[in-house]
Symmetry: C2
């Protein structure tokens, strides 16, 4: 692995750990998946899983520099996360750390946009998202509909 | 780390992975915790977390050679697992791979025996346990009481 790739990998882990810590501080049981994956192709391991009051949240963690960035996500990564979330009866999000503002935003999988090639896309200026407080409240008030938390930015 | 210690560590991971695979085959979403822990003392990461039908199971994974072995578990390890399980509203078990028979058995935390020094002990000849099928059924029939599955061996 090149040094640059290794650095990106390490930075990724540090965001995953930061998210676990943040969720833990808000009363969640949170766990980071193994760095090496499950070593079994058929098994998906999300980056982070968090649980509270019977509500389960699973996250794939990404980071972008700017709050108006676009982000592309591999089709199979999303499909595998969906499979895990469905088995767990959980919500699933792409958790995005915006490095410039230090904010976390959370995109529900069904709000991802499709690309022509069948992959997925997040456009941070238009894709609806939840902020961290909404994620926390999701576990406190199970009956509230997810849509109530979604924020739509106008580009 | 000595080579022997490293080998024990690796063997531990392989049992964790095996348990994840076994749970996955039975319809669970299962995730292994990170090898390096959370890198934050206040945060516990169980070896394995499994979810199905809204039921959450957390596991600390051990292995013993013989089906009549005794096993000692550090107090803080149990306390931390309890904390995680309580936050997650989950069941918590010490999952034990018996290497000789290749069986898995599962000890609910409240069935662990206390030692004089405040640590915990499993005596495989007397401590009540669940087998793998019972673990699976636990998630299929949420309302069944855990005790219904407990098997007590007479030493």
């Amino acid at each position: 692995m090149s040094r640059e790739r290794e650095n990106i990998r390490r930075r990724g882990f540090s965001y995953e750990r930061a998210l676990v810590k943040k969720l833990w501080k808000h009363g969640f049981a949170a766990i980071r998946g193994p760095a090496s994956g499950a070593k079994a192709r058929e098994i998906v391991q999300p980056d982070v899983v968090a649980m509270k009051n019977g509500v389960i949240l699973v996250f794939e963690v990404k980071s972008v520099k700017k709050s108006y960035a676009k982000l592309y996500i591999n089709k199979s990564q999303v499909e595998r996360l969906k499979e895990f979330a469905s088995r767990a009866s959980s919500y699933a999000f792409i958790a995005i750390k915006i490095r410039e503002t230090k904010d976390w935003i959370f995109i529900p999988l069904d709000k991802l946009e499709c690309t022509d090639k069948g992959n997925y896309k997040v456009d941070l200026t238009t894709t609806p998202y939840l902020n961290f407080n909404s994620i926390v409240r999701l576990a406190d008030k199970e009956t509230i509909r997810l849509d109530a938390f979604l924020k739509k930015r106008s580009g």
